[in-house]
Amino acid sequence: MKAFINCKEQEFQEGTRFIEVVKLIREAKKDEPMIKTIREKTGRNGLMFVLNGRAVHPHEYDSIEIQEGDDIRWIHPYAGG
């Protein structure tokens, strides 16, 4: 099954949960300076996720199953400047 993360096509097994994608991306981004700053300050890494144009709330991560063709985006918790 194929879905897109930030426009890049990726292969997923049937039944993959959204939380697994979240964990993978969080792990990959954990050492970025902004993420580190935010984690040191809040204990959270602050990354946010969009699925097919809609913001996904953390309480939904576990209940969503990745579907064929899903468009997943991750966004840093930055606020301008």
Partner: protein, 624 residues
């Protein structure tokens, strides 16, 4: 094509003629509107030899196809002209509602030229256009002028105005609208001043005819909800509506991105503490002050109730806060906010202001200027009182240093001499913004090669690949490692893409701050298509951005750009700091990176577009 009127308004201040003119579809298909339209007007009407204060200079105020569609971020609009700071074509963007009113008045641009015998303001009320006497407004600040115009014409008009710095031709004078948003960079306020044009008031009553209203509505709802949800998910201190962009300072500091002490230092502990977002909210009583249709609400209204810095009005944004605060080492949050608002009243760009005052402070520290030059002010680093007073001297163009600083630090340092050119942090006559090249080398490349406004952090905002973590995955910029900040690999490709991205945004006329919180290139492309019916692909979008960049480059060449201008960067670029995350980092290899960038753009090694490139994007007939 929908969502445009195929019509501009020409205002000739010399003979008082105001008339609509037709604009064919193919111009919008090539350049969209906004920045692209203002570049096109210069290309069509301002030949080689036209200068900033020449009455023939075209000052174009242009919304784009996204004005009037009620999408968050679609209040942005652009103005352009030949600039008195860099003496080439520039554009600058502002927000609030002025662009929307131009569009609803039935025009895709207002193009102003000429010079009357006495000060005037222009009133556009749908198809009724008048040029009115502004003698009674001349000498007033920018906000008083807006009040004065609205007092006569009515509160329903949206205005742009200038203050005394624009009248007195400060080379980095800005133009304000609604006492909250500014065409900040490159001295467009001085262009207005040179035309004795104190303000423009616009009111429109026409609905915009879009290609697919249902799809526009669907996109608006989806995008608005997403952006609201994304901001609500953030920790409170990261929410843009709470403190605006000034909160960025605490994320930038650990990256070494802040400008401190005229870009000489990497740390400023008392500044970090006192200019912190929480202190900003507390001391300035910041409250959201949104633009029309915007769900992000990054502008804020501040109030200092008493003391020497009492005021109620616009709260400083990141660039203002960083340049007027960190760069001068003034850590009094109230003094910084007050100085920025004072600059707004005079109509002074706060980015250039922060650099020229820092330049003067360094000159004072080195003994190049003394109290005899500073009106007796002790112009030491961090002296808030002296900094605020220097803003007044510049705004009033006081004889001596105040006048000189109003020329910008290139001219000022050339006139003062004594080595002061060494610490003038400018390129091509424009002061460098608040993104530090030591924190990401791509900023140096961007400042050197900018074509739309000289060195400008918003005409390619490639710094935000790292600083703000913007990605353009649709155009192939996604996975980027932190260490690549200090690498030239991919820099040419990335800077070119961000340059084109900014040109598309500034020509469609949308707010780049949406992109920090979940607005994507796909959203932009879908919205342009729903509004106009052009049916563009993401590649078409890039091609449009590329085309606008190329016409801006052709204009640079027309107005005197030479290759050496791109290589004449500030000496400070190659001076390292000795602490912080960017310790020891200087952009060695910048010269080669500039040449790489030329090639990436389809320019020859002299930095000029090749005929093959111009043919590829349909501009072969635009070369002089």
């Amino acid at each position: 094509m929908k969502s445009v009127w195929n019509k501009i308004l020409r205002v000739d201040l010399t003979n008082g003629a105001c008339k609509p003119e037709a604009m064919p579809d193919d111009i919008y298909e090539k350049f969209l509107g906004g920045a692209g339209m203002s570049a096109y007007m210069l290309w069509r009407e301002c030949p080689r030899g036209t200068t900033a204060f020449d009455p023939a200079n075209r000052l174009t105020f242009a919304p784009g196809p996204m004005q009037g569609i009620k999408q968050t971020g679609a209040a942005k609009w652009t103005a352009g002209a030949i600039s008195p700071s860099i003496n080439m074509n520039v554009d600058s963007a502002a927000t609030a509602s002025f662009g929307i009113e131009i569009k609803e008045a039935g025009y895709d641009a207002i193009v102003v030229h000429g010079r009357p015998e006495k000060p005037v303001y222009v009133v556009v009320d749908d198809d009724k256009v008048e040029i009115k006497d502004a003698n009674h407004l001349w000498g007033k600040d920018a906000y008083e002028t807006e009040d004065g115009i609205k007092g006569v014409e009515g509160e329903m008009f949206e205005c742009v105005t200038i203050g005394q710095a624009g009248e007195r031709l400060v080379r980095y004078a800005n133009i304000q609208t609604r006492k909250k948003s500014f065409l900040g960079r490159c001295g467009l306020g001085a262009v207005m001043g040179s035309k004795l044009l104190k303000g423009i008031a616009v009111r429109g009553s026409q609905s915009i005819n879009v290609h697919d209203p249902q799809e526009v509505d669907r996109l608006n709802k989806q995008i608005n909800q997403r952006l609201i949800d994304m901001d609500n998910e953030k920790e409170e201190w990261l929410q843009i509506k709470r403190v605006g962009t000034a909160m960025a300072t605490e994320l930038f500091a650990p990256q070494g991105n802040l400008p401190i002490k005229n870009y000489q230092l990497a740390d400023f502990p008392s500044g970090i503490k006192n200019l912190h977002a929480s202190n900003y909210v507390k001391e300035l009583r910041a409250k959201p002050w949104p633009c029309q249709y915007c769900v992000i609400q990054c502008h804020n209204l501040c109030e200092i109730k008493e003391g020497p810095y009492a005021y109620k009005g616009k709260g400083p944004e990141y660039e203002s806060f960083a340049m007027v605060g960190f760069n001068t080492m003034v850590d009094d949050v109230k003094a910084v906010a007050y100085a920025c608002e004072l600059a707004n009243l005079y109509s002074i760009d706060t980015i250039s202001l922060g650099v020229v005052i820092a330049w003067a402070m360094e000159s004072y520290e080195k003994g190049v200027i003394t109290k005899d030059d500073t009106y007796g002010l002790d112009l030491t680093w961090g002296n808030a009182e002296a900094m605020v007073e220097m803003v007044r001297k510049i705004g009033e163009r006081a004889d001596g240093l105040g006048y000189l600083l109003g020329e910008g630090c290139k001219i000022a340092s050339e006139r003062l001499g004594k080595g002061s050119e060494q610490w003038a942090v400018q390129m091509k006559g424009q002061e460098i913004a608040a993104h530090n090249w030591r924190a990401q080398y791509i900023s140096a490349l961007n400042y050197c090669t900018g074509v739309a406004s000289g060195p400008n952090h918003e005409r390619s905002n490639s710094q935000h690949i790292w600083v703000g973590h913007i990605r353009l995955p649709e155009w192939g910029i996604d996975e980027v490692e932190n260490e690549e900040r200090w690498s030239w690999e991919h820099a040419a490709d990335r800077n070119a893409k961000f340059h084109d991205y900014c040109n598309v945004i500034n020509s469609a006329c949308h707010c780049k701050f949406m992109e920090f919180r979940g607005y994507t290139l796909t959203d932009l492309c879908n919205t342009i298509n729903a509004a106009t019916g052009m049916g563009w692909s993401l590649e078409d979008l890039r091609r449009c951005g590329d085309r606008i960049t190329q016409i801006q480059k052709l204009l640079n060449i027309r107005y005197g750009w030479k290759k050496e201008h791109d290589f004449n960067y500030p000496k400070r670029f190659m001076e390292p700091v000795d602490e912080g995350p960017a310790a020891g980092k200087i952009p060695v290899g910048l010269e080669d990176a500039i040449i790489d960038y030329y090639r990436e753009r389809g320019w020859d090694d002299d930095g000029k577009p090749t005929m093959a490139k111009l043919k590829e994007i349909g501009l072969e007939d635009y070369i002089d």
